[in-house]
């Protein structure tokens, strides 16, 4: 039990003297009780030594100790004279107004002077109880400093949070993928969302060795898994018939210049669904001239089609189109892949695409094709129809690949940028995972209305995240730097305050979950929904 007493400060900073041995930590949640079944939740933002003994004396006596003169000296009443002062900030004011009824306010008043302070308890968080919200995503458990309150589970509104994008920033290895796995697992349990996961590490689905989403009891109804590799027996084959590719799928992806893009459109207009093969075959000068395309441009396009889509022609076989990868194919195969995926998403399924064997371009391009399809489909729904549709969210790793300032500026934008900017109007959002937030344009960062911030030791990155957060996190710089694996802060326009959480390790979490299922037990513990 941590305890202390308020000894000074103001609304910005409340100073608390810590009871000796309390071991307060950065990020600890504490409670200052009021007189009328009300209380204020405050959070430790910094800790400092204090002493009643003048600094000079302390310095001198340390010197004596170090230089071997310290014998026969001591500190009397050390716990009284040397102590820790915590600098804390009020997060939220809560007043119980009735049975399970609470009034919450952002704190505008100070808890009373010399008020004693205690650790937060489960009952202090009951005001977060679900407001009859059945559709939600589980993020983890409430955490006070590094102390995890396992019985207070943190959920966030599924539809709102996914529609308004989620940013998951952290340095490598802090548990981004683990968090997303846990979130996706919980989404498989709910209705109302279709999730497209571009998985460059093939880490979400799992296999015979590694636990993954495939272990979810509802995987048959709710989970699709695609892989371009034919050896992957559990996966549907990801092959896309090039007839389904349109020039605008390349928008901002693959590094096409505007002249080249224009040329692609000309090909498409003339040759319709065969346009890619026609580019690969090459055209004579006259034909090109008729289309208003320079020979040079056509050659670059041909080369790009060959390298990026691995589509070429076989001159020995009457210039027939040859498909050198399993991904982009011709003939009659792969014609329904895209529409199958779009259908699944519309049926509230989670679709994982193993892109571990794909190049960067291939991964983003496949994502672009699917996203563009779903986007234009949703865009044409009227608002009533849209209401009945599930929210679609696209999980993208290393988001700066498509949301970085440079790519967005140079390529004239891409579908991911479009979704980031206007997707919420059409119930389409992103779950953007990134190590580098600073390279994402500020308006886009600010548009990501939920940020699940994991540990980050790069101060530039922390600033970018803090600057664009929904709550004032200016005091959390140090806290974010010191977050351990799985520890996070949820800052969202849909949460009442920046909620510190710990996301359990996926393996343990699923083991527990499956154990509870098999013993037909209800999953115990109060479920808290924020939002």
């Amino acid at each position: 039990m941590k305890s202390g007493q308020i000894v000074g400060g103001g609304l910005q900073d409340i100073y608390i003297r810590e009871k000796s041995g309390s071991q307060m930590e950065l990020g600890d949640l504490l409670v200052a009780d009021g007189d009328n079944s009300d209380y204020t939740i405050i959070q430790v933002k910094d800790l400092a030594y204090r002493s009643q003994i003048p600094q000079q004396t302390l310095d001198l006596s340390a010197g004596m100790e170090l230089e071997g003169y310290g014998d026969n000296l001591e500190f009397m009443q050390p716990e009284l004279r040397n102590y820790l002062i915590a600098r804390a900030k009020a997060l939220i004011y809560v007043k119980k107004t009735g049975e399970e009824e609470y009034l919450t306010k952002s704190p505008k008043r100070l808890p009373s002077f010399f008020n004693s302070i205690r650790s937060i308890e489960k009952s202090d968080l009951e005001f977060l109880n679900p407001n009859k919200l059945e559709k939600s995503v589980y993020l983890g458990n409430i955490r006070s400093g590094s102390d995890v309150k396992n019985d207070v589970k943190v959920h966030i509104d599924l539809i709102k949070s996914l529609t308004h994008h989620i940013l998951i920033p952290a340095t490598t290895g802090r548990g981004k993928s683990n968090l997303v796995k846990v979130m996706l697992w919980s989404i498989l349990d709910t209705e109302g969302a279709g999730i497209l996961v571009l998985d460059p590490h093939n880490e979400y689905y799992g296999d015979h060795v590694k636990v993954g989403l495939r272990n979810h009891p509802k995987k048959d109804e709710k989970l699709d898994y695609y892989s371009p590799s034919k050896d992957n027996e559990e996966a549907l084959t990801l092959s896309i018939n090039i007839k389904k590719i349109r020039p605008d799928h390349f928008k901002g992806i693959g590094g096409f210049s505007s002249v080249q893009s224009e040329a692609m459109r000309m090909f498409f207009n003339k040759f319709k669904e065969n346009w890619i093969c026609e580019i690969a075959k090459g055209k004579d000068f006259e034909t090109l001239k008729g289309m208003g395309i320079q020979e040079k441009t056509a050659n670059v396009l041909k080369r790009k089609i060959e390298t990026q889509l691995k589509v070429s022609v076989d001159p020995s076989d009457g210039n027939k189109c040859v498909f050198n990868s399993n991904l982009f194919v011709g003939g009659e195969s792969g014609l329904s892949t895209i529409s199958d995926i779009v259908d699944s998403l519309e049926k509230e399924k989670t679709v994982i695409i193993d892109s571990s064997k794909l190049t960067d371009f291939e991964e983003l391009f496949v994502g672009s094709i699917i996203s563009s399809n779903i986007f234009s489909k949703y865009k044409n729904f009227n608002s009533e129809d849209l209401n009945d549709k599930p929210v679609i969210s696209i999980v993208i790793e290393e988001a700066p690949r498509v949301l970085g300032k440079e790519v967005l500026e140079s390529g004239g934008g891409n579908i991911y940028g479009t979704i980031a900017r206007e997707g919420r109007k059409f119930k389409i959002g992103l779950i953007a995972i990134t190590q580098l937030s600073s390279v994402i344009p500020r308006p886009i960062l600010a548009n990501m209305n939920t940020k699940i911030i994991l540990g980050n030791e790069m101060s530039l990155e922390r600033s970018a995240i803090i600057d664009s957060a929904s709550q004032d996190l200016s005091d959390d710089n140090r806290i974010i730097a010191s977050l351990d694996k799985g520890e996070a802060i949820v800052s969202s326009v849909f949460t009442k305050f920046a909620v510190p959480i710990y996301t359990p390790e996926f393996n343990k979490f699923t083991k527990e979950y499956l154990k509870n299922i098999s013993s037909k037990k209800e999953i115990k513990g109060v479920t808290e929904v924020l939002g």
Binding site: I53, T57, M64, N72, L73, E74, F75, M76
Partner: protein, 299 residues
């Protein structure tokens, strides 16, 4: 007018312990000292103003603070004479409170250390001291005093403490902590009922101090018992903030010290009352506030 604050603490096994009885650790009162002529004699009188009347039982009687000024007092001059007379209230209350502490807080074999000398300097003080010493003897509580400064000098007018300190260095005595006693005192002041010692309680002490033990008790102690007593106090004098000075006294200074702003607060209240009485002009010119600092206050 004087703000008086008397504080005590009790340590056992080097830990601060709470009082057993309901005696407050900090007793605070305002005293008002005035001089009046009565039948051609100058008298000084002191009255108390207590915020908490419960404190009164710990204080000396006001009648004992009425003193006739003698020739030798006049030598001091008006200001000093007034200060000396005004200080009686605090000095006397130290004795009365000490008596209460011995009575309700201490056990046989306990030691009480008074901040300052056991010497008396006011005519009516003797009776109070006698009472305390009697109580101490009855209960077997050893009564001692520790002074940061000493008025005693050698024949050659060197302060006695520095003289002994110098001696200890000159003779390279092999002890890091030591005490010297008895320090002989002038025959004329036989009134002094204490064994006077000079003690260096810690090797890192800047200076030795004057230490006194109630004479009746010291006379019944062997040399070793006296050394044991000093050793116990030395064990309490190892605090890094002021090595060689008992920690209880450091703590007491912290709680008993009167800060300047407190004085100013009282001063403001006083002025406002005087103004209400329409006597401000008259009195203002006579007002002279004195705040006493000593070295410990800077801690």
């Amino acid at each position: 007018m004087q703000l008086n604050r008397v504080y005590f603490n009790v340590f056992q096994n080097k830990k601060l312990i709470s009082p057993k009885s309901n005696i407050p650790c900090r007793i605070e009162f305002l005293s008002y000292t005035s001089s009046n002529f009565d039948h051609g004699n100058l008298f000084f009188e002191t009255k108390f103003s207590l915020e908490n009347d419960f404190f009164r039982k710990y204080l000396p009687l006001e009648k004992d603070l009425k003193i006739k000024a003698f020739e030798r007092d006049f030598v001091l001059g008006n200001q000093l004479m007034m200060e000396r007379m005004a200080s009686m209230a605090r000095r006397f209350s130290e004795w009365t409170i000490a008596e209460h502490i011995i009575d309700s807080e201490l056990e046989e074999g306990d030691i009480i250390i008074k901040d300052g000398s056991l010497q008396t300097s006011h005519p009516n003080e003797n009776q109070y001291v006698k009472n305390v010493f009697k109580k101490a003897k009855e209960k077997g509580v050893i009564f001692t005093g520790l002074s940061k400064t000493s008025r005693h000098t050698t024949d050659t007018r060197i302060p006695i403490i520095s003289a002994i300190d110098r001696l200890s260095e000159d003779f390279k005595i092999p002890y890091k902590e030591w005490c010297y006693f008895p320090v002989p005192i002038n025959k004329k002041t036989t009134e002094h009922k204490a064994l006077i010692m000079v003690v260096k309680l810690n090797r890192y002490a800047d200076t030795p101090f004057r230490f006194e033990i109630f004479k009746d008790q010291a006379d019944n102690m062997t040399k070793n018992e006296i050394l044991d007593l000093v050793s116990i106090i030395a064990d309490y004098s190892r605090d890094r903030s002021l090595p060689g000075y008992p920690y209880g006294l450091i703590d007491a200074h912290l709680w008993a010290r009167v800060r300047n702003e407190e004085i100013l607060g009282y001063q403001a209240m006083l002025f406002s009352e005087i103004t209400k009485l329409g006597m401000w002009k008259e009195i203002n010119s006579h007002i002279n506030t004195i705040s006493t600092h000593d070295k410990l206050d800077e801690m």
